[in-house]
């Protein structure tokens, strides 16, 4: 990919964030098929299954997530993306399955233990801690806080300096996410988009190795979204691995290094954005037969328009290159 297409929506990365050939693309050698192995996987999941009553919500045979890359997880509503997130991060118990993070086996561990290994997540329905201030929300995110121990909490001298460090980091992150002016407000007074940002910033306070974002751009205005995308790319360059669920195809196209497509609980395709968009299995997933709730007309039209727009944009991009 050379320059971003000029008539594409204004979610293009500025050039300097994507220097050509500065990094060898680890995905060059990766096959575009579900469950494809990756050169340096940070997260490997096997046979993860979850059924609710008679419904199979998740049935992932194999998935590998490349470290220090941005992987998008897409798929129609009800495909099982959030459930899969919940299973991997310990918020739900699978019926079967095992997965490793940095070669540590995680199945069976509780949510907080998994978070401590360096895998942090955000939530589809934001969980801003409403009656705490934005700053308190942020400080909460930091790990290894001495003052969190009951007895040490009683001796402020032990944790005061650490608290100041944490505050400084929080100030910096709040700045990056344009939330500085809200720092002392109750988090419950934030708008929906601001809450998404807070949750992301808070997750980053934990200095995670892998961050799993569940629809991070929903409700965020496009200008801010562009800033976020830039930050996320920077974080990736600094060594953070990102997995995110997203419905907005432009975001996916702009920022993801790799795309995983889920449908009806299974992974139906993997690949770069370009290969995904023309993959018949993917088109089928969005438009094809849905077992279960019938899509209403409007939803069908919407998804059709989405797929068509993606195909069209790609076709135009290829035309420009020619």
């Amino acid at each position: 990919m050379t320059d971003a297409p000029t008539d594409a929506p204004a979610l293009a990365l500025p050039d300097e964030a994507l220097p050509d050939g500065a990094r060898p693309n680890p995905f060059d050698q990766v096959r575009s098929s579900p469950g494809a192995p990756k050169p340096e996987p940070i997260l490997v999941a096997d046979e993860v299954r979850r059924r609710f009553g008679g419904l199979t919500a998740v049935d992932v045979r194999h998935l590998e997530v490349q470290r220090e890359a941005i992987t998008a997880l897409i798929g129609p509503n009800g495909a099982g993306k959030t459930t899969f997130f919940n299973l991997l991060t310990g918020f739900d118990k699978p019926d079967t399955g095992s997965w490793t993070f940095d070669d540590r086996r995680l199945e069976g561990l509780g949510a907080h233990k998994i978070a401590r290994t360096g895998m942090v997540r955000t939530f589809q329905l934001t969980k801003a801690l409403a009656r705490l201030s934005v700053m308190d929300n942020m400080k909460l995110g930091a790990t290894e806080q001495l003052g969190e121990n009951f007895f040490r909490a009683l001796l402020p001298r032990l944790w005061n300096s650490q608290e100041k460090e944490i505050e400084a980091r929080a100030v910096e992150l709040l700045g990056r996410f344009n939330l500085t002016h809200m720092r002392d407000e109750y988090a419950g007074t934030l708008s929906g988009g601001q809450r998404k940002l807070l949750e992301m910033a808070r997750a980053l306070m934990a200095q995670p190795k892998l961050v799993m974002l569940d629809e991070p751009m929903a409700g965020v205005n496009p200008a801010l979204a562009q800033t976020i995308i830039r930050h996320v790319a920077e974080l990736r360059d600094e060594g953070l691995t990102v997995v995110f669920v997203e419905h907005d195809m432009d975001v996916v196209r702009t920022i993801s290094d790799w795309v995983v497509v889920m449908s009806d609980g299974e992974i139906v395709a993997e690949g770069t954005h370009a290969s995904i968009v023309t993959n018949p299995a993917v088109i089928d997933a969005y438009l094809g037969a849905h077992h279960g709730t019938p899509m209403d007309r409007a939803e069908q039209d919407r998804q059709l328009a989405e797929a068509e727009a993606a195909i069209e944009a790609e076709r135009q991009a290829r035309e420009e290159e020619a």
Partner: protein, 330 residues
């Protein structure tokens, strides 16, 4: 109507023994419910186990009072663990039911004839408070001014009590202004969010349960020691609800809320009791409607109605913030 005596009674109740007891009970409840969001409806159980811990160990095993107090504290810790282990992983309502059940179970056990030898059964125990009153350094005499006249004995009781309240307030303040407190307050908002940041929510809820339970137990111990006798009948569900009323009145999740709430609550109770008693004594209320025995019932009715009105019209209490309540209601 003897307004002078009504006013006196009210002012004395403002700083009296009951205000101390319920300050402590409400501070404990504030830790549970106000800060952490734990639905403990058995605070009286903690008060009871602390009080019986002292009473039984002093009368049956003949240990000095200080040791008895430590045993009472230990018993409260055990109760908290016992209650917490099954329920803290479950929904909040379950803790509510289990804590009520546990405090009722404890009361039954203490009044059971089968264990009379140790617990005194429904008659209870006496004779365990000697050390406390022996330790009184205040020489005999009359102290105070205005409505606040106290004997040396009463002054000692109130001094010890209010010092205990101050220490509890200090402890809670330090904790809640620390990172530990931040976690606990966050748990009240959303446990999953806290878990996703790597904190062991279950452990913090347990610590909170223990802390609030111990403070409540100290309240119970103070109650029974200064009364110099203990009976299981005192530990019905009523004290728990008094503590809630005091807590809500003062304002939840505020350091001084429970104390001011308890003081005003008891002043109000004394005031209404005084008015009712005077009205009956002066035949302002004919005894066909109410006699002096029944004034006690009326008191309870007023507490119930008061609690409802408080929750509907001023759930933030005296020190609370209406916005916080609005943010908390989901």
């Amino acid at each position: 109507m003897n307004w002078h005596s009504i006013l006196n009674g009210t002012l004395r109740a403002l700083v009296g023994r009951e205000a101390i007891i319920y300050s402590l009970a409400a501070i404990g409840l504030n830790v549970h419910f106000g800060y952490t969001g734990l639905l403990n409806f058995g605070q009286v159980g903690f008060m009871a186990i602390g009080a019986y811990g002292v009473a039984i160990s002093v009368t049956t095993w003949d240990v000095p009072l200080i040791v008895g107090v430590l045993i009472g504290v230990g018993a409260a810790v055990c109760l908290a663990l016992l209650l917490g282990i099954p329920t803290l992983r479950l929904r909040a309502d379950y803790l509510a039911i289990v804590t009520i059940a546990a405090s009722e179970i404890f009361r039954f056990m203490m009044s059971a004839p089968s264990w009379r030898d140790v617990t005194g059964g429904s008659d209870g125990l006496t004779g365990f408070a000697g050390d406390f009153f022996d330790a009184n350094p205040i020489p005999g005499g009359d102290y105070g001014f205005g409505p606040w006249h106290y004997s040396a004995r009463d002054l000692w009781i109130l001094s010890v009590g209010w010092v205990a309240v101050l220490l509890a307030v200090l402890l809670v303040r330090m904790l809640m202004h620390s990172p530990w407190g931040r976690i606990v307050k966050a748990i009240r908002e959303d446990e999953d969010a806290v878990r996703s940041l790597g904190k062991n929510v279950y452990s913090y809820k347990m610590q909170s349960l223990v802390l609030g339970g111990v403070i409540g137990a100290v309240g119970g111990m103070f109650w029974m020691i200064t009364q110099a006798s203990i009976t299981p009948g005192s530990f019905s569900t009523i004290p728990t609800f008094y503590a809630y009323a005091a807590l809500i009145l003062g304002g939840m999740a505020r350091v001084w809320g429970p104390v001011v709430g308890a003081m005003i609550f008891w002043a109000l109770l004394a005031f209404t009791q005084g008015i009712l008693d005077e009205a009956v004594a002066n035949d302002l209320i004919p005894s066909s409607i109410m006699d002096s025995n029944q004034a006690g019932n009326v008191r309870f009715i007023l507490v119930g109605i008061g609690l409802v009105l408080l929750m509907v019209y001023r759930p933030q209490g005296i020190f609370g913030d209406r916005r916080e309540i609005a943010l908390g209601e989901r």
